[in-house]
Amino acid sequence: MRLILFSLMIFCFSGICSFFFGKNPRVANMMGAGGTVMGALIGLVPASIVLWTGRIAEFQRSWQIPYGSFSLKLDALSAFFLLTILILSAIAAIYGCTYLWDYRNRKNLGASWFFFNILVASMVMVVISHNGMLFLMAWEIMSLSSFFLVTFEDEIKSVRQAGWIYLIATHIGTAFLFVLFILLAHRCSSLDFTHFIASGVNGTSLTGTAFLLAVIGFGTKAGFMPFHVWLPEAHPAAPSHVSAVMSGVMIKTGIYGLFRTLSFLGRPEPWWGWLLIAVGLTSGILGVLFALAQHDLKRLLAYSSVENIGIITLGLGLGVLGLAVNQPVLAVLGFGGSLLHVLNHALFKGLLFLGAGAVLHATGVRNIEQLGGLIRHMPWTGTLFLIGSFAICGLPPLNGFISEFLIFVGAFMGMGLSDVSLSSIGVIAGLAAIGGLAAACFTKAFGIVFLGEPRCTPALPVHEISWSMRLPMLLLALGCLGIGLLSPWIISAMNPLIGNVTGLLINDIDVHLAVIVLPLQRITALSCFFVLILASLILLRRHLLSGKIPGQSCTWDCGFLRPTARMQYTASSYAQPITTMFGFFLQTRQTIHAPEGLFPARASLHTHTDDVFLKRLFHPLFHGIHRLLLRLHWLQQGRVQIYVLYVAVTLLSLLIWNLR
């Protein structure tokens, strides 16, 4: 515990230092990034200890604010999230060091690093705090610091807009959390989590309400549809290493909150599971559909985060359902898959955002339609991005497959049971569809950006990024591969964690995990076999081609005519069949200037897909309230006589009401 406090101090200290050294960008960089890395390294020690041993570390101090106490607790669940947070933050910090360097003349890097460190510290605080007030404070500081990071380039209008939406969304979400925590500590004198478990509301009629509040409040942060609206705005606006942290771990704190809250609410009811699964399906499928329809690379990634949150929620819902109908195996597999996917998504989404950042860094272009053929200029970035895309599609032998596999098997288990079967089938079909769509989405992202020919000549000469930016991505890619190949051991190591979440005994969990461990071993074996064959095929091909000189030509294309870059298939046309197939959800706007006449002039086609929920749900809502309140503006006319009249009328009416 002391170590964690120590690392927290390091975060804050280095943040403040870099803030004061803001005038000297180099020092600020060193301070900020170095502090993050060091703090993370120190914090990793207790986290991993707790995670492997399952022992719980606590820290208790009294605190002089209402309902508050400075009590921290590091159990397996916290430790797991802590691990994820620290790893990704440290890696992103290394990356950001170089990434921010270009801004040194326009921006105060010190401030940026200050907020970055505060963000990391507050995330750590969120997952280890064991008191409502402490949690809420850490939570809000997290939101605020990330807001300031998002509005790093506040001279751009879209960035300001994005920051605004983010701030509003997160604040309203937090309001729900206030109510949630107060309900949990109903008539308690303290918001300590122990009180929640002890007295709390579980069993009373408020339990369902509390659960709903948690889903809305934490869902806003996690990006459940339809509360995800801030996500596709904020992530593209932020600097890439920040987007990586936000999308990789910050939104996961919402998931953590849900897990935590469930542990307070006692035995869940079936409809909770159904609700979560419904949310998961919506977020998953719609998220990836919207991702598919985007032109902006980072926006696409943001929507895909919504999708992955959907997958995580599917697992969560499955687990809750398992607890509700007393099917521990469901709980184990569902929660296990969900948690593992949290880690996996942190890895590959971080990798992808860093890759997108590299593209942005090298070309200054975010619009997929204008990019192409980058892999020949930046082979490292291209390859790493490919690995990330491969993993996020959930394809073996990388890590994405493992977590989805767990959830799949869990759903299979549920298929036979009477009142779980329908939702299980939903999960199965949904996951399969998501897999297909994700494949479509990321073949598009990778293929159009990195392959083929550049679709329009980039402004600046494209160059491969420096090692200091390459290394972090490399580490993440290795992580993806490692989890993919070491899955059986990792799963069995997750036993205490799952026990913490499900409240089952270690041995029972072992029994249930046995269901999955053997298959995972075989999958590992098969993956190795796959790699073996691949290697041998490579050798074979080299052998076959040895001595022969492979011919070089332009793309053959059945020898039609000499292809040009403008003739390539664009991202929109690549996605078009699918977007039209689901046009009902996407509501894509099109402006077409079709070619006319014998010698047509320039023809053009513009498509834009805005967020349906933002446009159809939230805008009308807010405008409604706005208009309603503007009705009151006649009150203030500026005539003193009228004002005195108000006073008089108020008084008289009160008197009459009182004396009648």
């Binding site: 209402p66 404070m137 503007l630 005195v644 008084l651």
Partner: protein, 498 residues
């Protein structure tokens, strides 16, 4: 000692009226402010004895509000030094309608400032309803010239409205006092003295209908001063047209005094077993004020007016909290402290922005964080504090209020409260962010700060006081010192809440 608290500023004021040289005036002002603050601190350490057979006495709420006033005044007087320096005293052009105007004499300004302080102190320490009334009315009269410091049309209009509406309200309060006296009449030639203590002691003997009527009159009367909707109408005008320092005092200290006056009568009602009658009224007024404030903060064009309306909102929160009673009372006391500090800070920062941009229109202010990094940061920080985001003190108080509402099972009220707070957050966020961020346009000539340079400078006197206030709010959000805690609880208990 209490007398010293009151008469020190008065003496200073008289001295200032006599003085000519600017430096001397400023010296007197600072010394008076510091002296007052020191005396207040002493009052914390050794509680002063009651004076004038209990007419003047410093109980917990009095001490609380006195210290708020004193602290705020100290900060303001610091700020005023810089302010008076940068004010140019000759004829000059108005930036909205370009007619020429001058300021009123510095001596008059400072003198009235000191008198204002004295009268507010009197409100906090006096236990006699008549005396409270006199003091409150006196604050009005003392502050009127302050609002009319810049002698031009708009400020004159604001002053006129301020005098007119407040005087009417105060007159009604006077009648309320008479009603109270009637209620306190026991028999021919025998009645309870108008002291809070004795009224509470003999509360059971009071005549209920008259007491209720008296409460209504006092509520409306002092409510006008407090800025409860729909009697709040003078507030935005006065706050937006007066110099920022004065606005800071008006909403930071004056509102509290009026609030205290209402709490006193509520105290009597409580003793008479009528507390629900008062609480429900306060609840209603509170919610209505919040709604009105929210309505006017949406699409607000003038940032000082926006701050003024936010004062209306927080007054609403305060009376809502008192209406809820129970633990919310503690929240109310805490919130009074937080709000005063935060709002003072915000108005002072607004003064800095106004000084550089020469406009109060939200549309024309861009990129404050570039032009005035410190003020910009404080501006955003103050916004977060005033909207009750953690880790600022307002968050604690608002959460306490919310919790007691929910614990009492008044879910509708809690929901409305949260909803309005969210709406106000949205409104303020869009205003403050649009001002703080973005590319600053070209500034009026003669401003030292240039958007081009990455780290522009600001004068210390303009930054230190709001910074201190902000730090105070921040600290109150993280740690409530035991002595303050103790006084807060006592104050809440005085009004029968905890």
């Amino acid at each position: 000692m209490i007398l010293a608290l009151i008469f020190l500023p008065i003496a200073a004021a008289l001295a200032v009226f006599g003085l000519k040289s600017a430096t001397a005036i400023r010296v007197v002002l600072t010394t008076a402010a510091i002296g007052h603050a020191v005396l207040t601190v002493l009052a914390w350490i050794l509680p002063p004895a009651p004076v004038m057979d209990g007419w003047l006495l410093l109980d917990a709420p009095g001490l609380l509000f006195l210290s708020i006033t004193s602290a705020l005044f100290a900060m303001v007087s610091l700020y005023v030094l810089g302010y008076l320096q940068r004010e140019n005293w000759g004829k000059r052009q108005d930036f909205q309608e370009d007619f020429l105007f001058t300021n009123s004499r510095e001596s008059a300004f400072v003198g009235c400032l000191l008198l204002f302080l004295a009268m507010m102190t009197l409100v906090t320490v006096s236990q006699h309803f008549g005396l409270i009334w006199v003091a409150v009315e006196a604050t009005t009269l003392a502050s009127a010239p302050l609002i009319y410091f810049h002698r031009h049309r708009r400020s004159l209009e604001a002053t006129w409205k301020y005098i007119m509406i407040c005087s009417v309200g105060i007159a009604l309060a006077l009648l309320g006092n008479f009603f109270l006296a009637v209620a306190a009449t026991l028999a021919e030639n025998d009645h309870v003295p108008m002291l809070v203590s004795s009224l509470t002691a003999k509360a059971s003997l009071l005549h209920v209908p008259w007491l209720k009527a008296a409460f209504l009159f006092l509520l409306v009367g002092y409510g006008t001063k407090l800025g409860l909707a729909p009697m709040h109408t003078w507030l935005p005008d006065a706050h937006s047209e007066s110099p920022s320092v004065i606005s800071a005092l008006l909403s930071g200290a004056l509102l509290n005094c009026a609030f205290l006056a209402i709490l006193r009568i509520q105290q009597v009602l409580l003793a008479a077993g009528l507390s629900l009658f008062g609480q429900n009224l306060l609840l209603g007024f509170g919610l209505f004020s919040m709604i009105v404030a929210a309505a006017f903060m949406l699409r607000q064009l003038d940032f000082k007016r926006m701050l003024a309306y936010s004062s209306v909102e927080h007054v609403g929160i305060l009376s809502l909290a008192v209406g809820l009673g129970a633990n919310a009372g503690y929240g109310a006391m805490l919130h009074a402290v937080n709000h005063s500090l935060t709002k003072g800070m915000l108005f002072l920062v607004a003064g800095n922005i106004l000084a550089v941009y020469q406009t109060k229109s939200i549309r024309e202010v861009r990129g404050v964080t570039r032009v005035l990094p410190f003020s910009g940061a404080l501006w955003v920080m103050g916004f977060l504090a005033i909207t009750g985001s953690p880790p600022f003190g307002t968050f604690l108080s608002e959460l306490v209020i919310l919790k007691s509402a929910l614990d009492q099972g008044r879910f509708v009220i809690a929901a409305a409260y949260l909803l309005i707070l969210c709406i106000i957050f949205v409104a303020m966020a869009s205003v403050v962010l649009s001002m703080a961020q973005g590319e600053p346009g070209e500034l009026p000539a003669g401003s030292r700060n240039h958007p081009s340079l990455l780290f522009p400078r600001e004068s210390l006197l303009a930054v230190i006081p709001p910074l201190l206030l902000g730090v105070a709010v921040l600290v109150l959000g993280i740690y409530i010192p035991p002595f303050l805690q103790h006084v807060l609880e006592q104050a809440a208990r005085t009004f029968g809440m905890v």
